[in-house]
Amino acid sequence: MNYNFHWKPVFNNLPGLLEAGMLTLQVAVLSMLLGICIGMALALIRLHVRGPLRWFATTWIEVARNTPALIQLFFFAFGLGALGLYLSPYTIVLAGLTFNNAGYLAENFRGGLQAIPETQIRAARSLGMTAPQAYLRIVIPQVLRIVYYPMTNQMVWAVLMSSLGMLVGFRELSGETQALASTTFRIFEYFSVTAVIYYVIVKIFLGAAHLIARRLFRY
């Protein structure tokens, strides 16, 4: 192996990489929160509403699940650009990830919603709750519990998917790495450090999810 590793420029730029890592975290968490809200709405629409709204929800879910995330991102970047709508790289990545997360989560939520017996809603209604109250207080908490593990999985996917931001000019962890690597041509060294940072981020998320689960699901 005739290759001299130069790690020094990477370690000199480590603070910059970690800062970009925070941006990755931020966009992943934000897209996940938005994805949960939209995904729940899509799942409810798909189960209970008829007409064009349902068609819209079904299309969203199926397109998000059956096309590559990168194409979805390119659509928000270049497709909308062709229509004269120019988004910042941050918005592109956030929109793309939210679109994807919402589609995948909606399908999980649908399974969770179907697992809740209908009688519970009727019981809640007969206790005097309105329909939104019955959903917010009885159904959705149980659904979130059922889909907790698929949701942590999706969270990990969101972190990994955010690396695609590099290809639309967003300087999150991967984009920043590419920008820094291209100034020194130490591509391998830079990207191995980035790989380690991603690994640590994923492990922190999974560890946190495990701790939260122990706290939430004590009973």
Binding site: V63, G79, L160, L164, M166, L167
Partner: protein, 220 residues
């Protein structure tokens, strides 16, 4: 005289052919990577299942790394790493290697679940009927266990097919790279992205529906 020479020209029938050819390349690289990766993944899954402690300490973390690092980063790393150890791989080769390992890492956990799905009493029964360990594995565990996780495997395979779009970063002209080339020339990103997306959709949607229906039927 107001003829102007333009670098850009519209989307024509020949471009459609170009996209179709690229779509076949997407299919080709996916099929190869998924086949190799599934074979490796089943073996890894079996190792994780049988070699409890040793495999969990050695193979487990390695596979975990491939699941916890973005595929894009893996591709860039391997593409830059291969020449260091004297491997001169074309983008296609690098793509296949990483996609196959990535598939193997995902399939390993699926396959392990399949091995675990076969009850111990059933295995004892087959052994007490005089089957050897391998006969039991071949005729009892594999058919039942792999069948149980087939829908999950379809999900993994479709995921890899979609993720193969990332190989475009290395310069392999598959569907996404081809559409990028066409977008540069025709300046019609909306149309071409929709076409490329429609191809992935047409491939992925029927198969995922089929797997979902299979899963539903087996649950009853």
């Amino acid at each position: 005289m107001n003829d102007t020479l333009s670098f850009f020209s519209g989307f024509g029938p020949r471009d459609f052919l170009f996209l179709g050819e690229a779509a076949l390349r997407t299919l080709w690289i996916s099929v190869i990577a998924i086949s190799i990766g599934t074979g490796m993944g089943v073996i890894f899954g079996w190792l994780l299942f049988e070699g409890k402690l040793l495999a969990t300490l050695t193979l487990g973390p390695v596979l975990d790394v491939f699941r916890s690092v973005p595929l894009l980063i893996q591709l860039v790393l391997f593409y830059n790493f291969a020449p260091m150890v004297g491997l001169n791989l074309a983008p296609f080769g690098s793509g296949v290697v990483i996609l196959a390992i990535y598939t193997a890492a995902l399939v390993a956990s699926v396959a392990r679940g399949g091995f675990e799905a076969v009850g111990v009493p059933m295995r004892r029964a087959s052994r007490s009927l005089g089957m050897s360990y391998w006969q039991d594995l071949r005729h009892v565990v594999m058919p039942i266990g792999m069948r149980a996780v087939f829908p999950a495997w379809v999900g993994v395979a479709l995921g890899v097919m979609k993720d193969s779009a990332l190989v475009s970063v290395l310069g392999y002209v598959e569907l996404l790279k081809a559409s990028q080339i066409l977008i540069t020339r025709t300046q019609q990103p909306l149309l071409i992205l929709a076409l490329a997306g429609a191809f992935y959709f047409a491939l992925s949607y029927p198969i995922s529906r089929y797997a979902a229906r299979l899963e539903e039927r087996w649950e009853q």
